[in-house]
C-alpha cells in the first residue's frame, strides 16, 4: 500500500491565476488565465496547445525564470528540477563533456557519465564543441546534461522540434528509456499530437491565448505497448477536446 501512496504523491502543483505581459501601445496581453494542474511523481505529462498559446510561458513560470505572475507554484526546494529547452543552450566554449560536467553539483552527485554518454550515443563526440555538432547531436547533449543531475522533475520545451522524423523518433525512444531508468517526473510541452500520444501518461490540452485548460486525458496503456491504432485513437480523442492543430 505504501508504494502506491508514494507513486501518487504530487511533486508539483501549479495554480496560475493569471499572467499578463505589457504589450506595445500601453496595453496588456493575457498569456495565461486560471491554469491549474499537478504532476504526480514519476509520471510523464504532456501539455499541448496551439502555437503561441502560452505553453513556453507556463514552463518559464514553473522553472522560476519569471516570478512576475499572479498565483502559486509548489515545488519542494529539496528536489531538483532541470530542463531541456527548444534550443540546446549548450555553452559553445565548452566541449560536450565539459558542458555536462558543469551542471554536476560539487559533491559529485549524479549519474555515471560514461553510461549516460553511451546510452545517448555521445561517446564519439564527448570532446567536440557544440558548434561542431548537428542539431540532433546537440539535442542529445542537452538531454545528457538534464539527466546528469538525476532530476526529480524534468521540464522539456518542444525538445524534438525541427528534427527529421527518424531522428525525432530515435530521440523520443531515448527520452522514454532514460525517464524510466531514472524514475523522474517529466513535463513536456509540444504541439505535436502524435508525440504526446506516444510519450505521455497524461495529456493536458490548452486553449488558445490566454492559456487555460480545455481538458485532459489519461493514457492507461504503458508507453512500450502502444501501437499505431492506439496512438491514432488517442489523437482523435485529443482533437475532440479542442483547438489542437
Amino acid at each position: 500500500m505504501a508504494t502506491t501512496e508514494t507513486l501518487t504523491t504530487d511533486i508539483l502543483t501549479a495554480d496560475i491565476r493569471s499572467k499578463v505581459f505589457d504589450a506595445s501601445e500601453g496595453g496588456v496581453m493575457h498569456a495565461i488565465d486560471n491554469l491549474n494542474f499537478s504532476l504526480k511523481s514519476e509520471t510523464f505529462t504532456c501539455v499541448i496547445g496551439p502555437s503561441g498559446c502560452g505553453k513556453t510561458t507556463t514552463l518559464r513560470l514553473l522553472l522560476g525564470l519569471d516570478p512576475d505572475f499572479d498565483g502559486k507554484i509548489d515545488f519542494p526546494q529539496s528536489q531538483t528540477m532541470t530542463a531541456v529547452f527548444q534550443e540546446p543552450r549548450l555553452l559553445p566554449w565548452r566541449t560536450v563533456e565539459q558542458n555536462v560536467r558543469l551542471v554536476l553539483p560539487a559533491d559529485g552527485k549524479g549519474v555515471a557519465l560514461d553510461e549516460l554518454f553511451e546510452e545517448l550515443g555521445l561517446e564519439d563526440v564527448r570532446q567536440f564543441y557544440p558548434g561542431e555538432l548537428s542539431l540532433g547531436m546537440a539535442r542529445r547533449a542537452a538531454l545528457a546534461r538534464a539527466f546528469a543531475v538525476m532530476p526529480d522533475l524534468l521540464i522539456l520545451d518542444e525538445p524534438f522540434v525541427s528534427l527529421d522524423d527518424a531522428t525525432a523518433e530515435r530521440l523520443r525512444e531515448l527520452l522514454l528509456s532514460l525517464w524510466k531508468s531514472t524514475s523522474c517526473t517529466a513535463l513536456m510541452v509540444t504541439h505535436n499530437v502524435e508525440e504526446a500520444a506516444m510519450l505521455a501518461d497524461e495529456i493536458i490540452v490548452l486553449s488558445a491565448r490566454p492559456a487555460t485548460e480545455l481538458g485532459k486525458i489519461a493514457l492507461d496503456v504503458p508507453q512500450a505497448d502502444r501501437d499505431t491504432a492506439y496512438i491514432k485513437q488517442m489523437c482523435l480523442k485529443l482533437r475532440q477536446i479542442g483547438l489542437v492543430e
Partner: protein, 253 residues
C-alpha cells in the same frame, strides 16, 4: 605556413625601408636634432652598459602593469554592473561622460596636487584615465549577454560564482580583448607623462632629462627600447592569451 612567412618578410622589408629612410635623411641633414640610427644605437649601448636603461624600463613597465591591472579590474566590474543594471547605468552615465572628456593631463596634475607626488597618485591617475574606456567597452559586452544561457544557468542552479566564471566571463572575452588591446597602448603613453611630471625614475623621467640636455639620440634610444618591450608584450603575452581563449571558435560554429 607559406603565408606567415610571406607576412613576416613584408614586415621586415617595411621596417628595413624605414630604417634606410631614417639613415638617409639624418645623414643629409647632419643635425643634432635628428641623429641617425648608429648614434641612437650608440646611446642605447651606453645606457645599457651603465645599467640605467634597465632600471628605468623596469620602473615604467611596473607602472604600466599596475595601472593596467587596476584599470581592467575596476573598469570591468563597473562596466558589467552598468550593463546589467539599467537604472544604475542611467545614474552613473553622466559621470562617465564627464570623466571621458577630462584630459589625461588634468587628472594627473590634480592627482599629484591632491595626493602628493607619490607612486600611488601616479598609478592611480593613469588607471583613472583608462577606467572609463574599459567601463564603456565592458558595458557593451554585458548588454549583449545571451539571455538563453543565463536562464540555463538559473535552471541548473549555478549560483553567482559559477555563472560569472563559466557563463558570463567567456561571453565577455572579445570585449576584454578589445579593452586590453586599446588599454595597454594608451596606458604606457600616459605613464610617460606621469613620470615626466612627478617621478624620479622611468622612461618618462629620462626623456624629460635628456630633453633638457637636448640629447635626441638618448631620447630615441629610450623610446625605441620601450616600444620594443610593449610590442613583445603584445605578441608574446596578449595575442597568445587571446588565441587560447578563442580556441573553441576555430572549430565549427
Amino acid at each position: 605556413m607559406n603565408s606567415t612567412f610571406k607576412r613576416i618578410l613584408v614586415v621586415l622589408l617595411s621596417l628595413t625601408c624605414l630604417l634606410v629612410l631614417w639613415w638617409v635623411v639624418a645623414d643629409q641633414l647632419n643635425d643634432r636634432s635628428l641623429p641617425g640610427p648608429q648614434a641612437v644605437a650608440q646611446a642605447l649601448m651606453i645606457e645599457a652598459r651603465s645599467g640605467e636603461l634597465f632600471v628605468h624600463l623596469m620602473a615604467t613597465l611596473m607602472r604600466v602593469i599596475a595601472a593596467f591591472l587596476i584599470a581592467m579590474l575596476i573598469g570591468s566590474a563597473i562596466g558589467i554592473a552598468l550593463g546589467l543594471n539599467r537604472s544604475l547605468n542611467q545614474f552613473v552615465d553622466p559621470w562617465l561622460v564627464l570623466l571621458l572628456n577630462i584630459p589625461a593631463l588634468v587628472i594627473i596634475v590634480l592627482a599629484y596636487i591632491w595626493f602628493g607626488l607619490n607612486e600611488a597618485a601616479a598609478i592611480g591617475a593613469v588607471a583613472l584615465n583608462k577606467i572609463p574606456n574599459v567601463v564603456v567597452t565592458l558595458r557593451e559586452g554585458a548588454r549583449s549577454l545571451d539571455p538563453h544561457t543565463s536562464e540555463m544557468s538559473k535552471v541548473f542552479r549555478f549560483g553567482f560564482y559559477k555563472t560569472l566564471r563559466h557563463v558570463v566571463l567567456p561571453q565577455l572575452q572579445p570585449f576584454f580583448a578589445s579593452a586590453m588591446r586599446s588599454g595597454i597602448s594608451l596606458i604606457w603613453k600616459i605613464v610617460l607623462v606621469v613620470e615626466l611630471l612627478g617621478r624620479s625614475n622611468g622612461v618618462g623621467f629620462q626623456i624629460h632629462l635628456y630633453f633638457q640636455l637636448f640629447d635626441v639620440a638618448t631620447i630615441l634610444a629610450y623610446t625605441l627600447a620601450f616600444v620594443f618591450i610593449m610590442l613583445s608584450v603584445e605578441y608574446f603575452v596578449l595575442q597568445p592569451l587571446e588565441k587560447h581563449s578563442r580556441r573553441w571558435r576555430a572549430k565549427g560554429a
